[in-house]
Amino acid sequence: MRSQKIFSFLMLSLFFIPAVLLILTGGWRGLTVSAADLWDGFAAQSMEESFTEAFLGRDFLCSVTASMQTALGRNQKNDCFYGQDGILQNLPQSDEEITALNLQALQDFAEKQSVPCYFLLSPTAAAIEQNKIPRLALESLFNQKQYIQRCYAFLSASFHTIDGYNSLFSHQSEYLFYRTDSRLTAQGCYYLYVGAGDKLGYSARSMDYFSISHPLHDYKGNLFSLVPYGQTEPDMVSLFHYQKHNRVIRLVQDPLGKAEETLLFDPTLLESGDPLQVYLGPDRGVTDILVSDTPYDGHLLVFTDGSCDALFPLMAIHYLQIRVVDLHTVTTEQLSQIDPDAFDQVLFAFSVDQFGYDIFISDSLGKN
């Protein structure tokens, strides 16, 4: 009887110990339930969410579970394939309606302008790093190459298209995409920079021209929260500094408004919530990259989606000014102040995972 009581006590402690630890570590403070939540029937759900968020040893437990699931054969979660060498997001079939609207918006834009327009649609890691995807799953992958070709064919009359797919695919074994983030690494952007040179009319510099630093080695990107798999190595954030001719490259955030000048590659941004802000600064709507002591006098206007921010500081060495407009965050007022005719070239640089699924391009350009 005594041993049964001890056994019962130990079993009960399985529930009580985490509860006591939660109280001791102050994790209960976030467990507030509003009257509105209570009435709407969301009280339990909001409690569960905040409790899960603050759960003691959450990362450890997730990592152990993910390892066990992997041992049992699972390597896909939330549409992401995962393993030690990275998390790759599988894209569903693109939305044809959204694609058509975005393409039409670009076409309409190009027809209104006299400046030459360029279009770069870059694939995601799932298309380039297919060697990391289980063989049986390859058939169900969205064919991004075909999608890019289809979009390029639609815009061929009004745009110069840039082949980002082959630029990346020919270096597929290199560190082109972050292991824990859907965006391109600085190295991936470097190959896009090289691939875009012919079309944009500059002679891309070899890697020897850059001094490459790696100031951050433990970056966990946006895919890590979808698959908190502890065995995926964190990422390294690299910076390509142009080291010839003593050119000074400056960033001006919100040049049409407050015009705050900051350093290119401000190291303090590596400590922020999104360390990849280091490439173009924290205020993402409109950013100017200005170059002093340069023999070039070109002005490039870029509309982008934030998928390849490291690309534009690389291109900057061939221009006097690059104005980067992030269509996700730019305001209507800022857009109305931008005159494309004041630039020599206009580049649209997007990623397939946004172009085929998000209407923001059509929305923003339509308002302009």
């Binding site: 009581k5 019962s8 079993m11 009960l12 009280a43 899960t52 699972r74 390597n75 289980p134 049986l136």
Partner: protein, 444 residues
Amino acid sequence: MQLASLSFLYLFLPASLAVYYLFPRRMRYGVLLAVSLAFFLLNDPVSLLFLSVSVTADYALGLLMERFEQQNRRRRAIMLVMVGKNLLLFFGISCYCQLHGMATPLGLSICTLLGTGYAVDIYNGEALYEHNWGKFLLAHTLFMKLPAGPLVRYRTLREQFLPKKADFARMSEPIALFIQGVAKQAILGSPIRQLYDTLSSFSRADHSVFSLWLMPLCAAMNLYFILSGYCDMARGLGGMFGISLPRNFYYPYQSRSITDFVGRFNISVTDYLKTYIYHPLGEDSGGFASSALNIGVVTLLWGIWFGFRINYLLWGAFFVLLILLERSVWGKILIKLPVFFLRIYTFALVLLSFVIFNGRSVGQSLFFFQGMLGLGGLPMATSPILYLLSQYAPYLVLAVLFSTSLPHSLKGALRKKSPAAASAVGMVFYGGLLFLSTGFLLHP
């Protein structure tokens, strides 16, 4: 708040147990009522208000019936009002919610059917009139059985609301049962549900013969692990609070006939239907036609317990047909066959029944049947299906294994040989199971 959720496991449950056992015995049913109402309030406050009114009406009508003890016509009228009101609420709200794609209010079926049973029982003199509103409300809103039963008769519950001494020596078994229920849902039910959902989302062109065979297996395992998981949790929680609840599933997939299967699957619903419909209809005492009709009515209701859809009705009808065939055609042959064969025979028919259960329409089920027989021009298997299987095969194997009584037999054998070792192994096993379940709840 789900029973298998982190906030329930590590916050609501320890807090409720602590408060429950800190209070004196005579006040514990009051604490349990407060805990149940808090659970209801956190999950579905509108239903709580609404069902409290309905339960109070049943309570008042019960007292009114007692007042007319000598006037049978009035008593019958009151009983019919109670039954009619509860059935109208149950069918009306369930249908409305299904038509509008809304979730059924928490505890609707449990509360209304318990109320119906109470009305019939007091009318027949099989239960005492309830004079304590708090205990009456507690029987209806007892939190552990709100999400998915088991469905218990009122008098069975009422007998247990008496002051009792806490028996810590017996606490380990309900805790183990509760952990087992959580693990059933989190570790096996949830991944199999994911596989089933993925297969269900396939268009006709994406399917293959293999995927169509895989679907009913997933549906059968998913339904069993989710529902029996709920029931294990309810029974375990009941035990922790000193209330004994019946089991709802008894290894249904190792049944030896379809009649046996119906008696092992969703047992509390089967018992309820037998008590309140099959027995009053005269069971099988009135010849073949009458008995077939009685079985038909009960089994069809057993089918539509899962929802008001033509496929669920057909699912029930499929079982009616098989039960009648077993009774009148091949039942005598079956009892002479080896047990292994009987289990294969039953499981195969149950899997086929899930083809009807899975379909969103009769046409879709027909397509599934045709495809399974290789008649739809579908390929045998495709890479995406094989990939999906590679992801979930171990879970399916474990699910099939744990749906049998084999683990329970092993536990029993160990306990018989060495009770002390069984306790130690049990502690490590259930501790590990809770740890893993917590991990799966965080990272499904």
